[in-house]
Structures are given as structure tokens and as C-alpha cells.
């Protein structure tokens, strides 16, 4: 009995390796995917906040196997002359060489560059999720620069979705310390500066960074005229084209990227992607809010 089971599973594995497209097509024809999900369902998300104590805020996000860790470190800068009231948000993505067999250490990959572009668009340019004025300390003298670095640890598809959620979660839990600029031009905790001036003043709690909007992404693919939602790495290799849609908490479309591929998509299909993204948004927003409330509650 056991021998037959093993032979069956070996045959299935061999078929999958030799004819991946046919293997997949058989599942899709039945309206289901190899991991058991229906075509319209994305993977469950899990969010872990504050995992790295050396970072000013951090978030570990997993969609199935796809894993990204975002960490923010705050540093001080002198604001630029033409924007004296603004700080800076510097985003970087690194595909850790362990995340996929194609990655090698040293060379920054193309995939990482694309992800950085999408994150910059989502958080700064289009959605203006972060208002850089919030990062100012003393106009013209000092401001915060938040280095948001995201490491992709396990690359199993939907990287744009995972990295954006990790970035948003890290930003949502970022607390800006209360600081003041001394006469000598140094930035010190306000309690110190306040003690020097008026010793009776109480120490002030760090302030949370307010996100003006919360953008989240969903990657969908087109396979034999069927829309597949929330792709794994294997699926990304099989679909004819994929589209990443970013929507925010007010239901606005922040961005949509269809990067080439072997098939075209008509407007109706793109609308379907937007609807799917909105549905996914409700799901993710709930999980994110729960995680943040738990994290804030634990101090």
C-alpha cells in the first residue's frame, strides 16, 4: 500500500517537473490550484511587528512562503535648501541571495529595482502615504531621514504585495523620538534640552508617524483566459501576463502595473483586477489593524 502511494507521488512530482504547464492546466480546469486555493483567493497573510529591536520599527510579513522583513532606522539630516520643512524617506529593497536559486550575492538584481520603484510610487509619489513635513525637527536646521530597508528572505511570488505590506506595517509602527536642537547644532532628546532649560517639564513620549493613506497591492495573473489571484513563484512562471494593482484605504486606485508578458489585457479585465484588489484590501486591512493594535497594546 505504502509503496503504491510513494510511486503515485513520485509520478506526480515527475509529471510536474517535466510538464509544468499541463500539470497546472489540469487543476485550473477544475477551478482550483495545486495548493488547494480557488482561483480568486490570495494566500493568508501573517504580520509580525517589532521583531528587530535594533531597528526603530520592523515588520516581518509572510504570504504563504513569500517572506519579507522591513526595518526602519532613523538618522538626522540637514534639510535641503529648497525644502526646509521636509525630512526624507529613503527606500531600498534587497533580494537576499537565499530567497531564490537565481540570486547571487553582490549584484543588485533587476527585480529589486522594480520593487523599489513601485514602493516609491505607492508611498511617496502617488499615494503620498507619508507626509515628509512630519519628519521635520527644526525647519532649516534638522530633520529625520527614515531609511526603510526591506529584505526579501523567501521569494515565492507576489513580492510587490508582500514588500508593500511590510513597508506599510513598519511605517505604521514607527515612533519619532521627541528631540530638540541645541545651540551647538546637536540633536538631543527633548528631555535633556528641557532639563537644561526648565527642569520641571515632563519627558515627552515619542510620536507615532501618521500615515496619510494606506496603500496595499495585489498581483493577479492571466492564465488561459482565467484570472488567477495572488500568485506563487511557480504560477508567475506559467501565467501569460501579470498585473499588480495598488489601492488605498479610500478605495482609490494608486497604481496599476502590467509589465509586458505574452498576452494583452482589456479594460474589463483590468477592472476585475481592481475589484479583486479592493476585496483583498479589506482582508489585509483587518489583519494589519489587528497586528498593530496588539503591538501597541503590548507597549
Amino acid at each position: 500500500m505504502a509503496a503504491a502511494e510513494i510511486t503515485d507521488s513520485l509520478e506526480a512530482d515527475a509529471f510536474k517537473k517535466l510538464y509544468p504547464d499541463q500539470f497546472y492546466a489540469r487543476f485550473i480546469a477544475d477551478g482550483i490550484r495545486p495548493d488547494g486555493r480557488p482561483l480568486g483567493r490570495a494566500r493568508t497573510a501573517s504580520i509580525g511587528l517589532g521583531a528587530v529591536s535594533t531597528a526603530d520599527s520592523s515588520a516581518l510579513v509572510k504570504f504563504g512562503n513569500s517572506t519579507a522583513l522591513a526595518g526602519i532606522k532613523l538618522e538626522i539630516m540637514v534639510p535641503k535648501d529648497d525644502t526646509p520643512n521636509q525630512g526624507q524617506l529613503s527606500i531600498a529593497v534587497e533580494m537576499a541571495p537565499m530567497c531564490s536559486p537565481d540570486m547571487r550575492p553582490g549584484r543588485p538584481s533587476d527585480a529589486a529595482q522594480v520593487l523599489v520603484e513601485q514602493l516609491n510610487n505607492a508611498l511617496l509619489a502617488s499615494a503620498k502615504a507619508v507626509n515628509l513635513d512630519d519628519l521635520c525637527i527644526d525647519p532649516g536646521k534638522a530633520a529625520w531621514v527614515a531609511y526603510l530597508d526591506i529584505y526579501v528572505l523567501d521569494s515565492d511570488g507576489s513580492l510587490a504585495d508582500v514588500t508593500l505590506l511590510a513597508a506599510v506595517a513598519a511605517l505604521a509602527t514607527l515612533r519619532l523620538p521627541h528631540v530638540a536642537v541645541t545651540d551647538g547644532g546637536n540633536v538631543v532628546p527633548s528631555s535633556e534640552a528641557a532639563e537644561a532649560a526648565a527642569p520641571d517639564e515632563m519627558a515627552v513620549e515619542p510620536t507615532k508617524l501618521q500615515l496619510r493613506s494606506v496603500p496595499l497591492a495585489l498581483t493577479c495573473g492571466l492564465y488561459k483566459d482565467q484570472l488567477i489571484v495572488g500568485l506563487t513563484a511557480e504560477e508567475e512562471a506559467l501565467v501569460a501576463t501579470s498585473v499588480t494593482t495598488i489601492v488605498d484605504d479610500q478605495g482609490r486606485l494608486i497604481g496599476q502595473l502590467k509589465a509586458g508578458g505574452r498576452a494583452e489585457m482589456d479594460i474589463a479585465r483590468l477592472q476585475d483586477c481592481i475589484e479583486a484588489a479592493k476585496l483583498r484590501y479589506a482582508e489585509l486591512a483587518g489583519i494589519l489593524q489587528q497586528a498593530i493594535t496588539q503591538y501597541d497594546g503590548s507597549g
Binding site: 526595518g71 532606522k73 541571495p97 530567497c99 531609511y147 523567501d154 521569494s155 532628546p189
Partner: protein, 256 residues
């Protein structure tokens, strides 16, 4: 966008001066010869052939192993397989932010890690090929190299690559004449000497030894003894973690 080099770190707290109290208690409540509690978990990643996640106090390390496969670097023929290591610290892993791009200490850690693992891997089983060990330190709370060595050995085992024995590593810091086992970053900062030992516990062979600072023979013996005890303790934890991970994998296969 302003250049990254134009910002300065903000660090209100300096490192504690005294790391051991008069009663021999350390800042986190441990005794001088006590290990931090270790969490070791093989098969943490899906894409890599083998992987492991290790957490020792505030030091968190993720390791992924690929191979045996063709070496991207070396082209010369070699009868023995190559063990290629790459260690990186995340930019937010340390108190002060690190720049992207490999620094000299990361290159050094990679070399030391490779030497620690080479003796244990049965390299004649994959001639002309190599195994790639990618290590990312997510949080650096002290003794990164020791945690990386132990995690990497687990990841290699998880990948099914033939090994003579697992490798466990342990380090000792000397602060004000006292020997502290498994130091944290604050303790290592105040050290005037350190000993790192990596060994194959069952075979009783040392695969890596890194010593800094001035040591007399007697003190060196003491430190080595302490490290060996730590390695043996860690060995039990490592084997248990690997065994339970294997059991889980087998159980999952049976259900399918």
C-alpha cells in the same frame, strides 16, 4: 534625493559601563557560565535546498543553503567540492545603520564561517561542484558568528548534504578578568579578549578557533573548556531540532 552619506546617526543611549555585578550576575540576569536561551528551527525557507533560522537572545540569523550546484565563481577543476559562504548583516541589524554593500568585516566573517564548516562537510561527495551558504544576520545582539555557524550547520543538514557531524560554536568574552559565556553585544563591547570555538562535538574535532587579546596558557585552557561545554550543550539542542523537523516532514508526507 539627498545622498545617504549626509545623514548622522541618532543615538541617545551609550552602552552600559558595568556588565557584571559584584555578585557575578550579568545585565540579563544570567550567571557567568550560562547560555542565552537558543531557538533553532531548520527548514525556515521554501526556495532554498536547506535552511535554518536561529535566535540566541537578541541575535537573529537566517541561513539558506543551495547546492550542490555549479560554482558561479571558480572555474578550475577541483576533486573536492567547494564550500562558499556569504555573510551579510542587515542594515538595521546593528545600533548604527550599516551601508548597503559588503564591508570588510562581512568578508572576514564569510571566510571564518567557511573554515568552520569545511571540515564537517564530506566534500568528496560533490566534486567539481559547490554548495552556497547564504547567511543574513537580521539582528546583531552579540556572538553573531557563533550563531551563524550553528545555524549554517543545521541548514546544510537540512539540505541533505552529507556531513561527518554537526558543527556547533560558542564564544567567551573576558571582561575585567572574568570569563563570560555567550556574550551579548554590550558585554563584547567591554571585552579585552575573546575566544570563539567551533567544533564537531561527536568527533571531538575543532573546526574553527578565533582568539583576540592577550591570554596566558592557563586562562586559555579555562576559556577553551568553557567553550567546549557550551558547544556540547548546544549540540543536544541542535540534534533535537533537526530530529523533530525531520519527524514533522515525514508526518506531512504521510498525510498527503
Amino acid at each position: 534625493m539627498a545622498r545617504r552619506d549626509t545623514s548622522v546617526p541618532y543615538q541617545p543611549q551609550s552602552r552600559p559601563e558595568a556588565v557584571v555585578s559584584d555578585t557575578g550576575e550579568r545585565l540579563d540576569g544570567r550567571g557567568l557560565e550560562e547560555f542565552r536561551s537558543a531557538f533553532l528551527s531548520p527548514h525556515a525557507l521554501s526556495q532554498a535546498a536547506g535552511s535554518a533560522y536561529a535566535e540566541c537572545g537578541k541575535t537573529k540569523v537566517m541561513v539558506g543553503v543551495y547546492g550542490p550546484r555549479q560554482s558561479a565563481r571558480a572555474t578550475a577543476f577541483s576533486e573536492q567540492g567547494r564550500v562558499q559562504c556569504d555573510v551579510k548583516l542587515a542594515s538595521f541589524a546593528t545600533r548604527q545603520r550599516r551601508r548597503f554593500g559588503q564591508s570588510t568585516d562581512e568578508r572576514e566573517l564569510s571566510g571564518l564561517l567557511a573554515t568552520a564548516l569545511e571540515a564537517a562537510v564530506l566534500r568528496h561527495t560533490f566534486p567539481k561542484s559547490c554548495i552556497d551558504i547564504y547567511c543574513l544576520v537580521l539582528e546583531s545582539g552579540g556572538s553573531e558568528l557563533t550563531v551563524a555557524i550553528t545555524a549554517a550547520a543545521m541548514a546544510i543538514a537540512d539540505a541533505g548534504i552529507a556531513m561527518a557531524d554537526v558543527v556547533t560554536a560558542c564564544s567567551v568574552s573576558r571582561v575585567a578578568g572574568q570569563l563570560l559565556l555567550d556574550p551579548t553585544a554590550d558585554e563584547a563591547f567591554r571585552e579585552d579578549g575573546s575566544v570563539l570555538l567551533a567544533m564537531m562535538p561527536a568527533a571531538n574535532l575543532v573546526t574553527q578557533l578565533v582568539v583576540t587579546g592577550e591570554w596566558s596558557s592557563a586562562q586559555m585552557k579555562q576559556a577553551l573548556c568553557l567553550c567546549m561545554g557550551g558547544c556540547l550543550q548546544l549540540d543536544a539542542v541542535t540534534r533535537k531540532a533537526l530530529a523533530s523537523s525531520e519527524e514533522q516532514a515525514l508526518a506531512a508526507m504521510r498525510i498527503e
